[in-house]
């Protein structure tokens, strides 16, 4: 049997504790042990970005990290972006711009874009394209996603 241990992680402000194999990836921990299935597996080798979550506010690929590596870090998943029943302005912009079709890449896109806008509140189109270049989408052609992120940034700028 492979070695197991108890792993405790801070996810979306909650503490999640589970006994699992030490080789459990953060992705599988979130999906199978924390019950957070919004984070998706598209390739499990670090290329597609479907598994993107935030670790202390920076976007990371949950398929490339072992849960046991995360330690004290704060994990945020798509479920943690807004309180239940609500959506952030970024999520709403995605909807307005039809920035999702099948929705499989969407949580990863949101987590990457959310982190981008925190670091760079006023990105230009090239910066948005560059930031999202590690998130594959097979449905939308990216255009509406980029428009949604730019629109959200602009609206935030107008509000502040």
């Amino acid at each position: 049997m492979n070695p197991s241990r108890e792993i405790t992680l801070r996810v979306n402000g909650n503490t999640v504790r589970a006994v699992c194999e030490t080789r459990t990836t953060l992705l599988d921990f979130l999906r199978d042990h924390a019950g957070l299935t919004g984070t998706h597996a598209g390739c499990e080798h670090g290329v597609c970005g479907a598994c993107t979550v935030q670790l202390d506010g920076a976007s990371v690929r949950a398929c490339l990290l072992f849960a046991a590596q995360v330690g004290e870090g704060q994990i945020t998943t798509v479920e943690g972006l807004a309180p239940p029943g609500a959506m952030t302005d970024l999520q709403q912009a995605f909807r307005r711009h039809h920035a999702l079709q099948c929705g499989f890449c969407t949580p990863g896109m949101l987590m990457t874009a959310d982190a981008l806008l925190r670091e760079t509140p006023h990105p230009d189109e090239a910066a948005v394209r560059a930031a999202l270049s590690g998130n594959l989408c097979r449905c939308t052609g990216y255009q509406p996603i980029i428009e949604a992120v730019l629109d959200c940034a602009e609206a935030r700028g107008a509000r502040s």
Partner: protein
């Protein structure tokens, strides 16, 4: 499913209202669940005590299996089941063809699991079920298979020689071969002042949806429930039931959210038998989620074709005739839709042009590669590229303007319906129903600002500019019928049940729009259910851009009947929602396919030193008859175009000469990312509503992709006009283009040859 908003159910129960929902850019009711992580994709379906399956796949392209030893795998703690063909009674039962049963194909069907011979890298050899996917994969490593490797067929040319046979017992690699013709093609070529013959190649690639395939099966002793195969659930139900000698009613296929389909997902694959079988053996739910490597080697591939095509023209550019030979690589077995692309390819070679005399020899061959199926725009993408590229090459030879030659040859509006003859042996005569192909061409050119674009190799800041045009026509609305059921609930809401399935297109929203217009109720009054076998008596599923054309028409007619019933209630003095549920069930039969058409125009710049291509502007224009929701229709068009643009430059499933797959991960299988994807301008016209259905709709899901390779190859060819590159082979990858340029340069350096 969208939750109905109990307030504001509109005036459905008062008076007939005329609708304004269809045609409006209504935001999708589906979105919220996806944006908040609440979607329910296949891997999100989970049960207590569920087993996790993994499939052992052949590592060889062609080998005999001498022996399989599962002892160590079976002994691993946590392993529940290890099975090979020897353990499975139905192992030799082949998976039948669903679409395009061309003559001869049924000799090459795929068994549910390889018994004594493997024929492609990725073919299932054993199935393991364990307490977790981790343990299941550990167990795969412990299975020992003793292979006796044989010679493999890695290419169409090699296959055609029949020197090595993929299926020795059949005695040939030619799975099907037939001629199609309309008019008299020899007469058209006889005495033609100009002809040109080229040999084209379209590369192997695939839909590669972001969610890989996956299934959850649960056998409870009398009912088999299966989640995850979303495309043609009723067909798959019948097939699965037949494998187990069960009545169809003992099988339920249940739709989940799906991370993209693109033709690949939801056909009946070996795993669609193996996973339910394992669940039946174990008496517990079993989940199988494909990993990306498996997906690239085991899910359907598509597109790989060679085509010799010859055009006969008058010197003014009038096309006299077109003839050719198509050879498709089907991979090792004929799968459910293996014959679709090659037969459509031949059908769409003449395209939107007035080509009365056309002939084609169609051949499909087996090789030791992954079997093929349909991919978005099957046969159209390929056919369009071959023909449109040949047209531009001919224009180059004759010194004619490519736009003028297209204008001259496009079928005119007043010539509709235009008979296309019988170009698919499994179908009857067909005809383009209605369309203004010229208007499509003109509007696409003006959308991109064609007259002002630098082209013909104009040099700007070191980049050579070129513009390419490609016109297309394509069919949609297959599958002869669709069912719809609407129930008016006592709380004033409605449930709509449809036999189509959805893979992200937004059908829940569009069906609510259609029914809302008939019933005078807002979107929020509807819950839309689709894709599961429990909802309607039968459903034909989603393919051939049929969901709106056929499924939407059924919803419209059912809603109209519901309207009549509610009107009758109102006339009898009843006010408000009905006192008990009212149900309307309806089956809509199509009057045959409908044809959407359009033009793509690409403006590119090419760096002649590195062969790098920048797509500066791209217009994808399509007349879809009727735009039900412009937000969604544009999404389909742009997404399809980017998928096609990416495929034309990047996507490629490569094999070595031993038929070993070289592109089994996303590190090798490249797809367009946000930095490569150009801005695409989608233009959707509604100039020619389809007369064949009550919505006037034509398919909108595939037109975005079909003309991409043609337009791009012509644009790159135009930018590099000085070298007269044939560009008869895809992909237009950096390597391939750089090589073509190098070769052209060294040829030009030979004295006495010009460029």
């Amino acid at each position: 499913m969208n939750a109905p908003d109990r307030a504001g159910l509109g005036n459905a129960f008062e008076a007939a209202a005329t609708g304004t929902l269809s045609g409006a850019p209504i935001e999708r009711v589906e979105d919220e669940r996806f944006l908040t992580g609440a979607g329910r994709f296949t891997d999100d379906v989970r049960f207590e005590g569920m087993g996790h399956a993994a499939i052992l796949r052949s590592t060889h392209a062609h080998a005999r299996i001498r022996r399989i030893d599962c002892t160590a795998a079976r002994a691993l703690p946590g392993v529940m089941l290890v099975a090979t063909a020897a353990d499975i009674a139905q192992a030799n039962k082949p998976i039948p063809i669903r679409l395009a049963p061309l003559p001869g194909l049924d000799r090459f069907l795929q068994p549910t699991i390889a018994a004594d011979e493997v024929r492609y890298v990725g073919e299932p050899v054993a199935i393991v079920v364990a307490s977790s996917r981790y343990v299941a994969e550990d167990a795969l490593d412990l299975i020992e298979v003793d292979y006796d490797e044989g010679p493999a067929v890695a290419s169409i040319t090699q296959s055609a020689s029949n020197a090595t046979l993929v299926h020795a017992a059949v005695g040939t690699n030619v799975a099907t071969q037939y001629p199609v013709e309309r008019g008299d093609v020899d007469r058209a070529f006889a005495g033609a002042p100009y002809t040109r013959r080229e040999r084209f190649r379209c590369h192997r690639h695939t839909g590669a949806p972001m969610e890989t395939r996956g299934l959850v099966a649960e056998w409870n002793g009398s009912l088999m429930r299966v989640w995850g195969a979303t495309k043609v659930p009723f067909f798959n139900r019948g097939l699965l039931a037949s494998f187990f000698d069960l009545p169809e009613t003992a099988v339920d296929m249940i739709e989940t959210d799906i991370g993209g389909g693109f033709g690949i997902r939801g056909e009946f694959y070996p795993e669609d038998f193996l996973v339910p079988w394992a669940s039946m053996q174990l008496g517990r739910p079993v989940k199988w989620i494909e990993d990306r490597r498996e997906h690239l080697m085991a899910a359907n591939h598509a597109r790989e074709t060679e085509c010799e095509l010859e055009i006969a023209m008058n010197l003014d550019g009038t096309i006299r005739g077109l003839r050719g030979r198509v050879m498709a690589d089907l991979g090792a077995y004929v799968r459910t839709g293996g014959g679709v692309a090659v037969s459509r390819l031949a059908q769409y070679l003449p395209g939107p042009y007035r080509i009365s005399d056309f002939g084609c020899e169609v051949m499909a061959l087996v090789t030791n590669k992954t079997p093929v199926g349909t991919m978005r725009g099957p046969g159209r993408y390929e056919a369009n590229y071959f023909r449109e590229r040949l047209l531009d090459l001919a224009c180059g030879d004759l010194g004619l303007d490519p736009v003028a030659v297209r204008e001259m040859n496009l079928i005119a509006r007043h010539e509709m319906p235009w008979p296309i003859g019988r170009l698919v042996p499994t179908e009857g005569e067909g005809a383009y129903d209605v369309g203004d192909f010229h208007s499509g061409l003109h509007k696409a050119l003006s959308a991109i600002g064609y007259d002002r674009l630098p082209r013909d190799g104009a040099l700007i800041d070191g980049w050579l500019h070129g513009v390419g045009v490609a016109c297309f026509v394509e069919s949609s609305g297959g599958g002869k019928s669709e069912n719809a059921r609407i129930v008016a609930r006592t709380d004033g809401s409605f449930d709509i049940y449809s036999g189509v399935s959805t893979m992200g297109q937004g059908h829940e929203t569009v069906f609510a729009q259609i029914a809302g217009d008939e019933l005078g109720a807002p979107i929020s009054a509807f819950r839309v259910h689709h894709g599961s076998t429990a909802h309607v008596d039968y459903g034909w599923g989603t393919f051939h851009s049929r969901a709106i054309v056929v499924g939407g028409s059924a919803v419209k007619l059912a809603a109209a009947q519901m309207r009549e019933q509610l009107d009758a209630l109102a006339a009898a003095g009843h006010r408000g929602p009905p006192a008990e549920d009212i149900e309307v069930k309806l089956r809509y039969d199509t009057k045959g396919p409908t044809y959407s058409y359009g033009t793509h125009v690409a403006h590119v710049a090419v760096d002649p030193e590195t062969a790098r291509v920048k797509v500066l502007a791209y217009v994808a224009l399509e007349d879809v008859g009727r735009v039900m929701n412009p937000l969604l229709a544009h999404g389909q068009a742009v997404g399809g175009a980017v998928q096609g643009i990416g495929a034309t430059f990047l996507d490629e499933l490569r094999y070595d000469e031993n038929a070993q797959l070289l592109s089994g991960s996303y590190a090798d299988y490249l797809m367009a990312t946000s930095t490569e994807a150009p801005a695409v301008q989608a233009v959707l016209l509604e100039e020619s509503p389809s007369p064949s259905n009550p919505l006037g709709a034509k398919g909108a899901g595939e037109g975005g992709i079909v003309a991409t390779a043609g337009a791009l190859a012509n644009a790159v060819g135009n930018a590099l006009a000085a070298w007269r590159l044939p560009l008869t082979s895809l992909p237009l990858s950096l390597d391939n283009l750089a090589r073509a340029l190098r070769e052209a340069r060294s040829a030009a350096a030979v004295p006495g040859q010009d460029h």
